[in-house]
């Protein structure tokens, strides 16, 4: 579950303790200085908001899907909690005819929170399935609207079902003295939320979700099923949001539909965005910053330009410092950050990971060279009779090929020959009209991208698709995580050794998006190799490279493939590169395989020369 216990469990624990103490300590200091009831309430509110924002961070941060719906989930949890925890006497006043005999039911608050979590989870599963069906991925517009609709439905139902919710007027409230006193429970839950959020981010599921956030297609090509990880992140985040929302209701002592609606969704989102949505440290910082900014704005709005005893009374600024200034501040913070710093103050800087790099890792030495694998099970890739027609246009007719582990098979053809279509078929992007392909006789036709790579056919992309925000090492680690689960029959190579083999050791802590072109290509190769593939499918690996770079690439491809014992299928239009790297070559032209053989045989073939050089051979 955790690739590296020290980095992924130990330091997150230390980090969470520090983060918790910083937030709570800061609140205590503020409260001590002001020493009044309103400051105390502000700090309590901040602590509860922090729980909910951290809960939301687990989903938005790790999946990149913008959700308004978490406050809708909060509303569900809040009402379920209230209806179960409030005493029958109080409910008789507001909701004497609640359905399911709920008016007379009362359980302990702890049990009520548990019920709230379970009920909300049921809704979360349903919404999660809807999100998955809508093809949710990072930045998905449709997914966001679904979550927005959820927020509105819960609000609408809360308003229009007064028999259960008390409606918009009175809501339902705890008897005086029965609402949550003291902070012990809030603090425990807050610390637990921080820790859970950090542990999830470092866990296998969290890492895979983050990979899909960075590049859904590339993640799927590495055997990640984003939908599974998104659902996991959703359910975990809903649990925390539900507990936080129950505490919020309990602490305030009552619930109204508007408490969990647009304004609160906006507040929690701004908190998350300002600090940096991709990091838990950022979420906590955002809560502190926005709580402070709003409080300041509120005071400025109330007292004019006079705050903490500093007075500038006769102000030409009266038009700014008015009541409700704090809601304008929210909107301005949102738009301002989106324009100038959309990733928030901390981007994805995580305190405990910084601590780990700084103090936890010790000195590292570059691992030694790996011996080539010679005991890997032999594998055969076979495609036969593959045809693809788009309407009347036949992009591919009866194309077939085979490849054995240990060999490099090239596919070449001029533009429009059907290379891309062929790649799309064997990477699961296009369903063939006819024909099939398989590894070791296991039919893979029609499999999804992530299933193909788990079966041993791992691809790279013509236009580089790395997980840009992740470090070089993390990119390779993602693939290794999947391989550990799904490629158990193969010899798995150590991540650091693969990095060293690829010549990326010194760059291992840099973000992938900072690499130059050649290193990016090498990283993509190392990442594919870490999947322990039976076959690596390289889609135009030299596009954008000079001739000399292409020559070095030939060595690197062959070396990496031998290191993990994989066969290579390489597609390119550069005749020099293909003949230089391949043991055997298939030549495609106008959707058909027109020649097959060793580089020498193919180059001597008259039809190939005609297709490539346009000579008069058969014209």
């Amino acid at each position: 579950m955790f690739p590296n216990l020290k980095r992924d469990v130990g330091f997150p624990v230390i980090g969470s303790v520090v983060l918790f103490l910083a937030l709570f300590g800061g609140g205590l200091i503020y409260q001590t200085i002001l020493n009044n009831g309103s400051a105390e309430r502000l700090v309590t509110t901040m602590l509860i908001d922090a729980i909910i924002v951290i809960g939301i961070q687990i989903y938005i941060g790790n999946t990149g899907i913008l959700s308004f719906g978490h406050i809708g989930f909060g509303a569900i949890a809040g009402y379920v909690f209230a209806v179960y925890a409030i005493s029958p006497e109080e409910k008789l006043k507001r909701i004497p005819t609640a359905p399911f005999g709920l008016t007379d039911t009362q359980v302990s608050p702890g049990l009520a929170i548990l019920i709230a979590v379970v009920v909300t989870l049921v809704f979360a599963v349903i919404v999660g399935i809807g999100l998955a069906r809508s093809g949710a991925q990072s930045g998905s517009v449709a997914a966001t609207v679904i979550t927005l609709a959820l927020l509105f439905v819960t609000h609408e139902v809360a308003k229009s079902w007064p028999e259960l919710t008390g409606g918009n007027r009175g809501g339902i409230s705890f008897a005086i003295g029965e609402s949550l006193e003291g902070r012990a429970l809030i603090l425990v839950v807050l610390f637990a939320s921080m820790l859970i959020a950090r542990l999830y981010g470092q866990s296998r599921s969290g890492r895979l979700a983050i990979a899909a956030r960075e590049d859904s297609l590339a993640a799927r090509a590495m055997g990640v099923n984003p939908l599974v990880q998104q659902m996991a992140a959703l359910l975990l985040s809903v649990v925390i949001v539900s507990v936080g929302s129950s505490l919020r209701v309990w602490q305030i002592g009552s619930i109204l539909p508007d408490r969990f609606f647009f304004d609160y969704a906006m507040l929690t989102l701004v908190m998350l965005i300002v600090g940096g949505r991709n990091s838990v440290t950022g979420a906590v910082l955002g809560v502190a910053v926005m709580t402070g900014a709003r409080e300041l704005a509120r005071r400025l709005g109330q007292d004019g330009f006079e705050v903490f005893g500093l007075g500038l009374d006769e102000a030409p600024l009266d038009w700014v410092f008015r009541e409700n200034l704090n809601s304008v501040v929210l909107g301005l913070a949102m738009v301002g950050f989106m324009i100038w710093r959309p990733t928030g103050i901390l981007e994805d800087w995580e305190f405990d990971q910084w601590l780990y790099r700084r103090f936890g890792r010790g000195t590292q030495t570059e691992p030694g060279r790996l011996a080539e694998l010679d005991d890997v099970p032999a594998a055969t890739f076979e495609a036969s009779g593959v045809s693809v027609a788009f309407g009347g246009f036949k992009a591919l007719t009866n194309a077939g090929m085979t490849a054995e582990s240990g060999e490099v098979v090239g596919i070449i053809g001029p533009n429009g020959a059907g290379k891309t279509t062929f790649v799309n078929v064997i990477t699961g992007m296009v369903e063939p009209t006819d024909g099939a392909f398989s590894i070791d006789g296991v039919d893979l036709t029609g499999s999804a991208s992530h299933e193909l790579s788990r079966s041993g056919l791992v691809r790279t992309f013509q236009n580089l698709r790395l997980f840009g925000a992740l470090t070089v090492r993390e990119n390779v680690e993602i693939a290794a995580l999947v391989a550990k689960e799904h490629r158990t029959e193969r010899t798995l190579r150590d991540v650091d050794s693969l990095l060293a083999e690829a010549g990326l050791w010194e760059h291992r802590d840099r973000r992938a998006r900072e690499l130059d072109y050649g290193n990016s290509r090498r990283l993509e190769l190392a990442r594919a190799a870490a999947m322990a593939p039976s076959f690596m499918l390289l889609d135009e690996p030299t596009s954008g490279m000079s001739d000399s770079e292409s020559l070095t690439m030939i060595e690197q491809v062959r070396h990496m493939a031998a290191t993990v014992g994989a066969g290579v299928i390489v597609i390119d239009h550069d005749l020099g590169f293909i003949t230089g790297i391949s043991d055997r070559i298939y030549v495609l032209d106008q959707g058909q395989v027109i020649a097959e053989g060793t580089p020498d045989e193919v180059q001597a073939n008259a039809r190939v020369q005609a297709a490539y050089l346009g000579s008069a051979a058969d014209r």
Binding site: G139, I146, V328, M429
Partner: protein, 295 residues
């Protein structure tokens, strides 16, 4: 039968407004992949101007042009101040920017006007009906439907028959290529926002008349209906947006008349559930534009 016809006309009237809103959302989405959560502000801002104008002694004849013009100008202003600065940013950033704009506008009215409801008179003919056989057709619905047909016809002409329309459609299908072909990105984006503002202005005239009042958060409902309708129709498809609007309007009215009396006020909730089901079975919306995953 009579009741059904009656409902159909009510639904079409309601749906026409949604269709205009959705079309405005779709035009902007097509051009810069921005799902505009601030679209409702193109009704809030004219709404407050309406309230102001009536206090100044204006009447509907002068207020209607005011609404349309102010909607267009607001749309252009919002583009200039906010959206032009996040062009080409990720969808996540675009969504939150528009959400933030909604909030700033709403909070601005809260700050400078007040949270309370600001009323203004509805037009005198608002509640009039015309009897056709056994049907009682509301003049308002009739006006909405007729105006919508005219506006949609005009928009179709604009998009299909003018250079601007061609540039807009080209930019919507492939922005970079359109620019290489000489389409000026600034003017086409501003044009799209102006068109979106104009459509919101027409919808706004009827929305504002029907509401009879305005609050700082008045934009939320029209925004939501417009966005949902665009999504029901299939994001990226202009025809889909219109269809989605009509479907949404009809669904609301028909559902309200079919639901048992006790739970009628849950209509909106049921509409949302139906929309959710639609997405589950047809994720791309009614007229989904095939999205080819680029490798």
């Amino acid at each position: 039968m009579t009741e059904l016809l009656q409902n159909l006309i009510d639904g079409l009237g309601r749906g026409s407004i949604y269709a205009l809103l959705a079309l405005g959302v779709a035009v902007v989405f097509g051009i810069m992949h921005l799902l505009n959560f601030a679209h409702g502000e193109l009704i809030t801002i004219p709404g407050y101007l309406t309230y102001w104008a009536f206090n100044q002694g204006w009447n509907w004849w002068t207020v209607v042009p005011l609404i349309i013009v102010s909607a267009v100008l607001s749309s252009l202003l919002i583009e200039r101040v906010a959206f032009s600065r996040v062009r080409g940013a990720s969808d996540f950033t675009l969504l939150l920017t528009s959400f933030g704009v909604h909030f700033i506008v709403a909070a601005g009215f809260l700050l400078y006007v007040s949270a309370s409801v600001k009323p203004y008179p509805r037009p005198g003919w608002f509640a009039d009906t015309i009897a056709v056989g056994s049907l009682n057709i509301e003049v308002f619905d009739l006006a909405v439907i007729v105006v919508t047909i005219i506006v949609l016809a005009g928009t179709t002409w604009l998009l299909q028959r003018t250079m601007f329309g061609l540039a807009l459609r080209a930019a919507a299908s492939d922005f970079d290529t359109a620019r290489l072909m000489g389409v000026k990105s600034d003017s086409v984006i501003r044009g799209a926002f102006a068109l979106s503002g104009f459509l919101a202005g027409i919808a706004g005239v009827f929305w504002i008349m029907r509401e009879g009042q305005v609050t700082p958060t008045a934009g939320i409902n029209p925004m939501l209906q417009g966005v949902l309708a665009a999504l029901i129709g299939g994001l990226g498809s202009l025809r889909g947006a219109v269809l989605g609007g009509l479907v949404l309007g009809l669904a609301e009215v028909l559902l309200r008349s079919w639901l048992p009396v006790g739970i009628q006020n849950l209509t909106t909730g049921f509409v949302f559930v139906m929309i959710a089901l639609l997405f589950i079975f047809r994720p791309g919306g009614l007229l989904s534009v095939p999205q080819v995953e680029r490798v």
